[in-house]
Amino acid sequence: MDNKMTFNQLTLKEALDGLADASLTIEELYRDLNLAIKEKNQFYNIYLNLNDQAEQQAVLAQDTQLKGLPIAVKDNFCTKNLPTTASSRILENFIPQYESTVTDRLQKAGGVIVGKTNLDAWAHGSSTETSDFGPTLNPRNPQHLPGGSSGGSAAAVAADLCLAAIGSETAGSIRQPAAWCGTVGLKPSYGRVSRFGVIAMASSTDSPGVIAKTVEDACLVLDTFAGPDPRDATCKPEVAPKFTSFLDQDIKGLKIGVIYHDLKGLEETNEKLAQELAILSQLGARVEKAEALDPHYAIGVYTVVQRAEVSSNLARFDGVRYGKDRSFFGDEAKRRIMLGTFTLSKGYSEQYYNLAQKVRTLYLNDFAKLFKKYDVLVSPSSPGFAKKLGASASSPMFGELEDMLLEASSVSGLPGINVPYYQDPDSQLFLGANFIAPMWREDLVIKVADAFEKNSKWNTWRNR
């Protein structure tokens, strides 16, 4: 460790080890963290609200699994007595009266919520620029966007304003900001983690997950809250595996298919990825090109399904029981609610909604076929580096186009993980790889991602 390093820059694992062998105290860690938050939070616009009890809670949590370490939480998870806005004006003054399952279990395991992070309002977007409370800046390069919708959580990790963060993904909202901010982003299978207490967006694909500095850290956090929940009927009833048990495994003989390798416009990202994937071949995995169904269709599937589910889920915001009335919806929310209402309306639902759900079946069938031949599939997480501030105004479809490489796996419910694989020496921005596996096979993505990360030089924290 170099002398200029501060304790908030540790990985979660390093901090746990430090607290265990008493080379670090929780007070020292929070002292550095609080200084960093004071210095950076306003500029990058990462936390919408901070938990002023965080350090006291941490001191009391020293005998727990996560030992009071500071975790950032996306502001669409209901946290009892801590404001929860979903970055919307409508919920500006909303104080939940109950705790989401994820944050409840996280805190019981000794994770301390350091604050609630910015997102695209209602998680509608891939830039964090459509937040009703202003954009978050990318800590790698503040001229650029952090991605989204979990942009605040990814930025909190990249800026060392937490040791790990909770995000949620509907189609790319964990993995894409993780890629743009140069962090790890783990989206479990749909149904692996409870959605109870998460402000609903698209109920058939919403998946809570983790943004962290390393694959190992992501597993340490996911271990605290994955698994069945009687309050979410879509949760898999079987107990979740211990995700940390899939670290440091041999990947010899695993078959890895590289998908989307010949897409137009991705020549540079794909070429750099192909170079880095040599790491996996050297570890004994068999890496070869695979042919997947054109991801362009997934844009249409996701757009239709997401808007339809949004129009239904956001109907509850009527200004009667909580929040302000519907005139306070921002432009993006209005667009999505109305388009969803339209595609579900009589005369149009066959043409749009049912057609989209049929094409969704084509993706499920295509993945089933691919996974007969391959254990894991990989592609870039995003077509390129983080876009500049202002880019999201370029098209009402900005997010869908940026998330194109992740949408097919999202609408199919598959587990996926982003791992950084290249950093541009000039812009400091990252490219990330997305590893996916069959439903419920987080073990495979973790094994491969962990081996890939530990043998590459693209993890900022591990290789500082």
Binding site: Y190, S204, T234, H296, R321, M338, S345, V359, M439
Partner: protein
Amino acid sequence: MSKQNIDQKLVKHVAELAHIPISDAESQQLAKDFSQTLSVVDQLKSADVSQVSTTHQVTGLKNITREDKVVEGWSFTQAEALANAPHVQDGFFLVPQVLNAEDN
């Protein structure tokens, strides 16, 4: 299938269905946005879906229920239920009037 023509009249009708108040200028912009989005969605029409049915959920789970009993801590007290309501009277939510005298 023909291309969907989205005009301001249709947008205003949808806004009414969705209870979203919008201005004239907004309805004009939204009509443009809708057309742009739907032209991308129209790519779906070139996919061959003749052999498949719809997928609405991916977990394969069916008929998930829990025992019908009250669990302590899972329900709101009246005070908690009303805590975030903007307008409350005598322990009730106050709602906008929907019936007029001539409806009687």
